[in-house]
């Protein structure tokens, strides 16, 4: 009976995983699919495969970051918070807007904090909110620089139209695979982190391999993400890659790479150690948003073209996306608060415990998932 209850609670995490797959796959493959350089079935297959690999092999290590924001300490509370975040992202996906799963999770945690009377670390919240501005700005700057560099390289080497097409396609596939791996490794914490402490699975010993309960949990979550990619991500991919600004395949590649660079710079502990080792100032590790970095990069490409590019940007679509960035955490917080009230008072579930921290939400499992 306890197992069934746990599995029921787990369902909201799977729903959040599905929502994340539907929305965040566009960061890795959106521009490639929208520019018709990669077919959607190919993108969906590669994205699903590599995000599952990323989630299972690297996902379990990610358990820091936004947990400072709030520690959900009861399984029904975790279920409800995950459900609120999932509903928010699913709704954004339904209207074709690239929302940030991390923002939705932040919103739902704040909703839980408000409901349970737990304090919200305003310093952490401010730092996270700042990244929502920094991320697109950096994405735009990187995209501009990268595009200039690529154009200079192409002018120098004069590749044949077909060779350029092949190289761009290969670049898009590699960047997409890398992005998918990062999505799985960093984003799975957002999806299943709520339930790590309550995993219904036991460690499995398969000869030379040992599969921990957390890895099994993350595998299930990653499969839910993969289902989201296959079933519902196409529309958001088209918004990212085509609705805001019609991108050339080369620009599409620049967008994906600059988005990855933004994530790498602000999430790589290896880079931080390297810079520190050389006595250089380190780049602060901030949970930046992949979705916002992509949109910033697309804008950067448009702005690089001068007034012509500015006219080509569909500002109405951008307005919709930007308003989504503001409304996503708010909606998630409101839905979370209301659902917590319902779960506690209608279903009689204990959504928080006054003293015992049960599941430190692994929310910000990784910056890329934001």
């Amino acid at each position: 009976m306890a197992l069934i209850v746990t599995l029921i609670f787990l369902s909201s995490g799977l729903f959040l995983g599905w929502s994340m797959g539907a929305n965040d796959a566009s960061n890795a493959f959106g521009t490639a699919v929208a520019t018709r350089m990669v077919r959607f079935p190919t993108a969906a297959f590669l994205c699903s495969t590599f995000l599952i690999i990323g989630a299972v092999t690297s996902g379990s290590g990610a358990a820091e970051g936004l947990s400072q924001l709030g520690a959900i300490n009861a399984l029904p509370g975790a279920f409800t918070a995950a459900l609120a975040a999932a509903l928010t992202v699913a709704w954004m996906s339904a209207v074709g807007l690239p929302a940030s799963t991390g923002q939705a999770v932040v919103g739902s945690i704040i909703g839980w904090n408000l409901f349970s009377g737990s304090p919200t670390d305003l310093g952490t919240l401010g730092r996270i909110a700042a990244t929502w501005v920094v991320s697109p700005v950096l994405g735009a700057i990187f995209a501009m620089l990268l595009y200039k560099l690529l154009v200079a390289w192409i002018s120098l080497t004069k590749p044949h139209l077909l060779s350029l097409d092949r190289n761009t396609r290969s670049g898009l596939l590699l960047a997409g695979i890398f992005g998918s791996y990062a999505l799985g490794a960093n984003g799975i914490g957002n999806v299943m982190g709520f339930f790590v402490e309550a995993s219904p699975f036991r460690d499995l010993n398969l000869g030379p391999f040992e599969v921990s309960s957390v890895e099994q949990l993350f595998l299930i979550g990653a499969i839910a993400v993969a289902v989201g990619v296959y079933t519902y991500s196409r529309r958001v991919m088209m918004t990212v890659g085509d609705s805001l600004l019609t991108l050339s395949p080369l620009a599409a590649l620049v967008v994906v790479v600059s988005h990855s660079l933004v994530l790498f710079l602000f999430s790589s502990t290896a880079l931080e150690s390297l810079l520190a080792g050389w006595g250089l100032p380190t780049i602060p590790l901030l949970p930046v948003s992949g979705s916002q970095a992509v949109i910033g990069s697309v804008l950067g490409i448009g702005l690089l073209q001068g007034m012509k590019g500015v006219r080509q940007i569909r500002w109405g679509v951008l307005g919709g996306i930007a308003s989504g960035w503001i409304t996503t955490p708010l909606i998630a917080a409101v839905i979370g608060f209301v659902l917590l009230f319902v779960v506690q008072n209608v279903f009689g579930q204990e959504v928080y415990q006054a003293s015992r921290p049960l599941a430190v939400a692994v929310l910000a499992a990784g910056p890329a998932a934001l």
């Binding site: 044949h160 139209l161 092949r166």
Partner: protein, 220 residues
């Protein structure tokens, strides 16, 4: 004849080779066509030489047609150049149509066989050379499009200059033909021949105009 079955690996290079071969063949066809037209219109060569050039041109057209079909099929089946595919196919189609029209005009000339008059030989040689220069300039522009789209504009300008000169030459020849002491049939046939050569340059200019748009779309 090249093997046209695409390899498992290296499809891009294979297709690049096909496009290069297509452009080479078009260039070859234009040279053969020029030689044939000049041979007939200048009245220096016998009919059998002209017919030989015509057969050579027909054979080149056949090969170009095969190549174009293979390129079209490969571009679609391999999903290559999703953003520029339409432009590339249109360009190759237009270039083939240009050679095809040139071949048809030459064939028609050999059927109708207007009288070859020595006093117009030099004029027709000059007109043919100028029209062919505009065609050759557009072929250079087409080759440039595949590697340096930004440089296409310079060649397109050459096409326009040559086309303009062809117009002037054609107009001058037509006036001379009309003023000459010839029967109505001869005057009509010679005037139509001049118009045919003029039209060749016009077609080259039209392709150049399309090409300049394709190049703008590809500019980085």
């Amino acid at each position: 004849m090249a093997n046209e079955t695409p390899p498992l690996f290296g499809k891009t290079r294979f297709l690049e080779g096909l496009i290069d071969e297509f452009l080479d063949k078009i260039t070859e066809g234009v040279i053969v066509g020029e030689l044939g037209l000049k041979a007939y219109l200048c009245g220096q060569e016998g009919e059998e030489i002209c017919l030989e050039k015509l057969h050579q041109l027909i054979e080149i057209k056949r090969r170009c047609s095969e190549l174009r079909r293979t390129i079209v099929t490969m571009l679609y089946t391999e999903m290559l150049l999703p953003d520029a595919r339409g432009d590339v196919l249109r360009l190759l189609g237009s270039l083939f149509a240009l050679l095809d029209d040139m071949g048809d005009d030459f064939e028609e000339l050999m059927i109708v066989q207007p009288q070859r008059l020595p006093e117009f030989g030099a004029d027709f040689a000059e007109l043919t050379a100028m029209a062919i220069r505009s065609v050759q300039a557009v072929l250079v522009a087409a080759r440039t499009f595949f590697r340096t789209p930004a440089a296409v504009r310079e060649h397109i300008n050459e096409v326009r200059v040559f086309e303009d000169e062809t117009d002037k030459l054609a107009s001058r020849i037509k006036r001379r033909i009309v003023a000459a002491d010839l029967c109505f049939e001869q005057r009509t046939l010679l005037r139509e021949t001049a118009a045919m050569l003029d039209a060749l340059a016009d077609k080259a200019e039209n392709i150049g105009d399309d090409l300049s748009i394709f190049a703008i779309k590809r500019s980085l």
